[in-house]
Amino acid sequence: MTAPVQTEPDTVTRTYASYSRPVWQRILLTRELAIIALLAAVYLYSTGNIDNFDNPLTLYYLFLDTAPILLIALPMTLIIITGEIDLSVASVVGLSSVLVGILHQDAGLSIPVAALVAIAIGAVAGAFNGFLVAYVGLPSLAVTIGTLALYRGIAVGLLGTTAVTDFPEKWTDLAKDRLGSDTSSYPVILVPFAVLLVLFALLLHFSPFGRGIVEIGLNDEAAHFTGVNVARTKLTLFVLAGAVSAFAGVYYTLRYGSARGDNASGLELQVIAAVLLGGVSIFGGRGALHGVVAGVLLIGVISSAMRLDGQTVNVINIVIGVLLVLSVMSTSLLAWVSSLRSARTGARGPSAPPPAPTPNHPSSTFSSTTERQHP
């Protein structure tokens, strides 16, 4: 009885469509687009209904305030897609902030030199995380919880409870400068962000390295056997995270004109929340940068709209928290709905292979093409 079942696929020529859905569906019906649509909806609603929201200052402040999150979210997205996490990013921001302050004030270095040194040390801090995760094989959650405390400790230890506030106005003004006219909504920090966004998008979505990142997230052993250098990829990503976080620290220091050890504490959770909201799977293997950028902006727009509406921070936190939970739930919910749908329409689907191999679980064949599930 088993023999014919096994040979059947060989005798009947199966035809698979390249994709289960037409291209417009694959582009539009994604979690990324859902977040972008939600962002647009919230933005439009707020523009029409919240006093002062349509003021160009709203967007200007929004970009200024979310710039560190936008920046760090780029490498964080790649790290989370590999199935790892980096909790130490905010501590690297603090460390870099303190270093810029000390190097400028005590060592007399100019701001660009101090910034470059801080970014280099940020990269080293990231490399330390990456080495422990990729080559020693420790879980990134544990490693970066440790370095979260370690780097923050060094930062606070270096400067104590004092703050360095003596920065040249030229540089502190630059951090808040606008592109184009004086009333423009777009601060100059968006330029380095745009450059990094393009670089990270090329890296993740249009390069073999990026395919490797996704593969590692789906199954790192399989990735290894297909020729992906798993350890080196992870190390590279942690180094990038360290360097970008340190750059965010330089921006942070100049933006507020104050280098303190406790700068940006708690920022890592805002970054991770935005990345997850943007449709990146915490289990790895799935995610895209346009969704993440929308996720960061969505949280920013909701916060500033609710602040302008006079809501307290607790209400804002509740709304964002609920949104995040719903967004994480939606992945499983959508998968479940789509599996139900496949079960019902299964045999009639145009791209379905003629005989369903295991009629009791038809969902597995179909859902795997739309939503990559992974233990």
Binding site: Y61, Y256, S258, T345
Partner: protein, 342 residues
């Protein structure tokens, strides 16, 4: 199914197109400045963080004042006291065009630019409790000055021990600037006005509960005739009171200094402590609200010598550096401690 997908896809497209269009539209009429608040008096309180009983008390004082003179009170704030966390709230207040912002700064520099931008937008800036750099605000409401703090503690201990006998000081860290300033002033005051009180020792508990507790024990052993301990730090006074309350010295050695009602409540109730001092945060917020109103109305500009009325608290004069002093520290005792929760 197909239709549903198409509809939702279309909706998504429309929204995206809408985003692009509105973004463009925004740039077009960007001259429209915020500040539509106008007319009535709106004062926003921005404490270091929300859910802090100290600021709940001070902001309630501000609310009371604003209700008295008929303005709009609002309290906003971050949930953590990180240096930059107040900036978005300051920006928001500037955009809303509130009349005045009353803020306790988490960082004296980090919020400066935001405050200056708000000031440019016509918002009057009053700091209270914790100041910013002087050029970033119109007025600072100072809760207490060193001379007042030193004097109230000497007066309390003198009254409690009958103006004669041995006393000691339990301080925080040996190099704490404010503590040392107060101790210096207390020594002068004791020498000049209380010749029968002898300051036998000054010990340092490093603002650590256990160290302060141990230092109290050591003080009592080293000075068997000790009649009073002054601890000008909230950690020290609570630790000293806890030690005394469980030792034989209870009732013989008086403890006083600077403390908060919630910390000291049980020791006041069990009689270990008869009185201690701090400022009244409620009055601080109340005064800050009246000062904000005076600035908005143009009664004062923050110049030294300007005077304004602050409701029940009476008349105040602006001192040097655009600072207003709340007044003498507030003495808490068994009669009034029940009124406070911070």
């Amino acid at each position: 199914m197909k239709l549903n997908r198409r509809v939702s896809a279309f909706a998504a497209l429309t929204l995206i197109a809408g985003l692009g269009l509105t973004a463009c539209g925004d740039d077009g009429d960007s001259d429209d400045k915020g500040g539509g608040g106008g007319g009535d008096l709106s004062i926003t309180f921005l404490p270091k963080n929300l859910g802090n009983p100290y600021f709940d008390t001070s902001d309630a004082g501000g609310k009371k004042a604003i209700e008295e003179f008929g303005g709009t009170y609002e309290e906003v704030g971050p949930d953590t006291g990180t240096p930059d966390a107040q900036v978005p709230f300051i920006n928001t207040a500037a955009q809303q065009g509130v009349s005045a912002l009353v803020v306790s700064a988490n960082d004296k520099t980090a919020i400066c630019d935001a405050l200056n931008e708000a000031s440019d937008a016509g918002v009057k800036i009053v700091t209270f409790d914790s100041d910013t750099d002087a050029e970033c605000r119109d007025l600072y409401i100072n809760q207490a000055d060193a001379a007042g703090i030193a004097k109230v503690q000497v007066d309390m201990i003198a009254e409690q021990i009958g103006d004669e006998g041995e006393v000691a000081i339990l301080s925080a860290a040996a190099n704490a600037t404010n503590q040392n300033e107060w101790i210096g002033l207390m020594e002068e005051d004791l020498a000049a006005n209380h010749p029968n009180i002898k300051l036998v020792d000054t010990v340092y508990g490093d603002d650590d509960d256990q160290t302060s507790f141990d230092k109290t024990a050591a003080l009592l052993q080293a000075h068997p005739d000790l009649k009073g301990i002054i601890s000008p730090t909230t950690v020290g006074i609570a630790a000293a009171a806890r030690y005394i309350s469980t030792s034989d010295a209870k009732g013989k050695v008086m403890v006083t200094g600077l403390g908060t009602p919630n910390q000291m409540r049980e020791f006041v109730e069990d009689g270990t402590v008869t009185a201690f001092a701090l400022w009244n945060p409620g009055d601080l917020g109340y005064l800050a609200a009246y000062a904000a109103k005076a600035l908005v109305d143009g009664d004062i500009t923050g110049k030294e010598g300007d005077t304004f009325e602050a409701g029940d608290l009476g008349s105040y004069t602006v001192g040097p550096d655009a600072t207003v002093l709340l007044g003498e520290p507030f003495v808490f005792n068994a009669d009034n401690i029940g009124d406070f929760d911070f």
